[in-house]
């Protein structure tokens, strides 16, 4: 297992048979102005053209109390890849049958969030007891009575506070983990945008965090892939920090997901890699001002099978710095059906060659059977719920889901 080329972030030089990683982490314009570091981290691991691929992005909180959150986010992505890789080697590399896969999923569900938090703490501990930490801590504004006290345990970890989004793409399963704000989305071969982990309507700047040490606040989703043809696997899987979404108005973020796939279809994923940092800098400058980071994995098989052209965006980011060059008359295949509201999924334009509806309902060879809901540790596996009206929904929607304890309580 080796990391991708450190400069480009792309697994270079492959045929359209595998998976391509594209990533960028751009410092926010407000951080540049205030002399702050990029507090995001984006890290990936994978062999050229092969699965599995491991991804992680993290967003350090950046407030005064989180004065080493750039370190915390970096340790978060290292830890996530470490734990996911270890899980893969132990449970999936030599997987022999479906029964073992179910057991592997149980193992994942019960242990990964806690393992990640514990290892992140272990990684943070030596730094939190060092001279540098004490120096920064002593500079925090405090009352006179507070001046000489030692940091509490929460304050120690708060200094490194970070969100974490991680994913593993293997031949058998997609695994998604999320703690705190940010987005994980997938785009299927019809251009549907789906959020495998339901979006919570959180407002303002408050977020869940590794520093709170609450594994139950992780949201986990596992999707079985091994019985779907690769052409129906997601074309794009993306993990992004909230600086990206908060740069757009309303549905602009969904449009971003669709446009990136359209761009990759026309220019290749290498074309996306060539431009992505420039785009992100522009989003930050004209939008959120925050660090903007994302890791994208393009499924080259599904991408090459997509019809072309894909319906492009009618709205273009930026004020005066970018232009929408294409006359509307030249657009081909634009479906004017409006996107659905932001939920777990937003349907996209349907290319003319695909027709208005597409049969995504799995046949027997795709189905993985109907199982009863079963408890897995603190979580519930709702396997293989394939509603009759799922024909507009992407593969992630069809193949069951894991519900985290928090979601279960809400339900």
């Amino acid at each position: 297992m080796s990391d991708e080329h450190p400069e480009s972030g792309v697994l270079q030089g492959h045929d359209p048979v595998g998976w391509t990683l594209v990533k960028s982490s751009v410092i926010g314009s407000s951080h540049v102005r205030n002399g702050k570091p990029n507090q995001d981290s984006a890290r990936s691991l994978g062999e050229r053209d092969q699965l599995p691929v491991f991804l992680a992005v993290a967003d350090g909180h950046g407030s005064a109390r989180s004065f080493l959150s750039d370190v915390g986010s970096s340790l978060a992505t290292v830890t996530a890849l470490d734990v996911l890789l270890e899980f893969y080697e132990r449970e999936l590399r030599n997987l022999e049958d479906t029964k073992n896969l179910s057991e592997a999923i149980r193992s994942l569900e019960g242990t990964l969030p806690r393992t990640i938090i514990n290892r992140w703490r272990t990684a943070v501990d030596p730094v939190s007891k060092g001279v540098l930490f004490n120096y920064y801590f002593s500079k925090l504004p405090r009352t006179q009575a507070d001046e000489r006290r030692e940091p509490t345990e929460l304050e120690r970890y708060m200094a490194f506070g970070s969100t974490l989004l991680a994913a593993m793409i293997s031949e058998e399963v997609l695994v998604f983990l999320q703690l705190g704000d940010g987005d994980i989305f997938a785009v299927d071969h019809l251009g549907n945008v789906e959020f495998p982990i339901p979006q919570e309507e959180t407002l303002g700047e408050d977020t869940f965090s590794l520093c709170l040490q609450k594994p139950e606040q992780f949201k986990v989703r596992v999707v079985r892939l091994n019985e779907l043809p690769k052409q129906e696997w997601p074309v794009l899987i993306c993990l992004s920090t909230d600086g990206l979404r908060k740069s757009f108005e309303d549905e602009g973020f969904i449009q971003f997901a669709k446009d990136v796939v359209a761009f990759a279809k026309e220019h290749g994923s290498s074309g996306v890699q060539a431009k992505i940092s420039e785009w992100f800098a522009q989003y930050s400058r004209n939008g959120s001002g925050d660090d903007v980071s994302a890791i994208m994995v393009f499924n080259e098989v599904a991408l090459s099978a997509m019809p072309f052209p894909i319906a492009p965006s009618e709205a273009v980011a930026d004020d005066t710095q970018s232009t929408h060059e294409q006359p509307v008359d030249d657009l081909v295949g634009v479906d004017e059906t409006p996107s659905s509201s932001l939920g777990t999924q937003s349907s996209a334009s349907t290319p003319p060659s695909q027709g208005a509806t597409t049969d995504l309902e799995p046949d027997a060879s795709h189905s993985v059977g109907h199982e009863e809901s079963e408890s897995i540790g603190d979580q519930v596996l709702v396997a293989d719920q394939i509603p009759n009206d799922s024909q507009h929904e992407g593969p992630l929607h069809m193949l069951g889901r894991l519900i985290s304890p928090m979601q279960r309580k809400k339900n």
């Binding site: 309507e201 959180t202 869940f208 446009d259 220019h267 001002g289 970018s322 060059e325 294409q326």
Partner: protein, 245 residues
């Protein structure tokens, strides 16, 4: 050829995604214009103070250009009405004097603001809104006041708002203002003379705006609760403490 058909390296600039914009920061003045505000020139001083601090407010907004500060104002007497109803960019914000008359139906003003803090018209990408309540008295109808606070807390951005309260003169009921703030770590300010009133209004429209516009992610066990923006302390070292009101 599609709209995204330019050369990725040298072609025309085309950027994926919908419209990009800075994050809005909605700032609401909620002002008492009941009859008692005419006493001892309080209303005139309030008008003067808000007008006087507009340049500083603009400067504060410019220091964080990723936040788009939008100002509105609602006043209350025996009723409540918008003094500035439209979201006004701070660079276009000008002040026209308000006059005083009537009772102190604070609840009606809070209900008006609460209505504007729904999504929509608010955007989920906004920064926490800032609500600045100023009064020299007490809510005329306590029951309705309590109800209006429930309305405010029932809308997501109402609950997440940064709420500031300034009492004008010793007749102001600080307990009522504290209930509006709904945060034990943040106390209402009491202005007993014109200098203090100017200082507090300047603080609310500059330091608070700067703090909110530069807000950072904050770990919280329950992200649905009050905004956790670190509000800087008001500096009163050189301000007269002579009690006039």
């Amino acid at each position: 050829m599609s709209a995204l058909g330019s050369d990725p390296v040298s072609g025309p600039e085309v950027v994926p995604g919908g419209r990009v914009s800075h994050r809005p920061l909605h700032f609401f003045w909620i002002l008492d214009r009941s009859g008692s505000m005419t006493e001892d020139g309080k209303m005139a001083e309030l008008n003067h103070a808000i007008r006087d601090t507009i340049p500083a407010m603009r400067d504060a907004a410019r220091s964080n250009p990723e936040a788009e500060v939008l100002v509105r104002c609602v006043t209350f007497d025996s009723n409540a009405q918008w003094h500035i109803a439209t979201e006004t960019p701070v660079d276009d914000f000008e002040w026209s004097d308000i006059t005083a008359d009537g009772e102190t139906m604070m609840d009606k003003a809070i209900e008006l603001v609460a209505e504007q803090l729904r999504i929509p018209p608010m955007s989920s990408k906004a920064l926490p809104p800032v609500l600045v309540l100023m009064s020299d008295g007490d809510a005329t109808d306590r029951g309705k006041f309590e109800e209006s606070l429930k309305s405010l807390d029932s809308v997501p951005w109402g609950k997440k708002a940064v709420r500031i309260a300034i009492g004008i003169g010793r007749t102001a009921n600080l307990d009522t203002l504290q209930k509006f703030i709904n945060n034990s770590e943040l106390k209402p300010l009491l202005a007993v003379n014109a200098d203090q009133l100017v200082t507090y209004i300047r603080w609310a429209s500059t330091a608070v705006v700067s703090a909110v516009s530069a807000a950072k992610s904050t770990p919280d066990k329950d992200p649905s609760t009050l905004a956790h923006v670190v509000i800087p302390a008001v500096q009163v070292d050189d301000v007269s403490d002579v009690v006039v009101w």
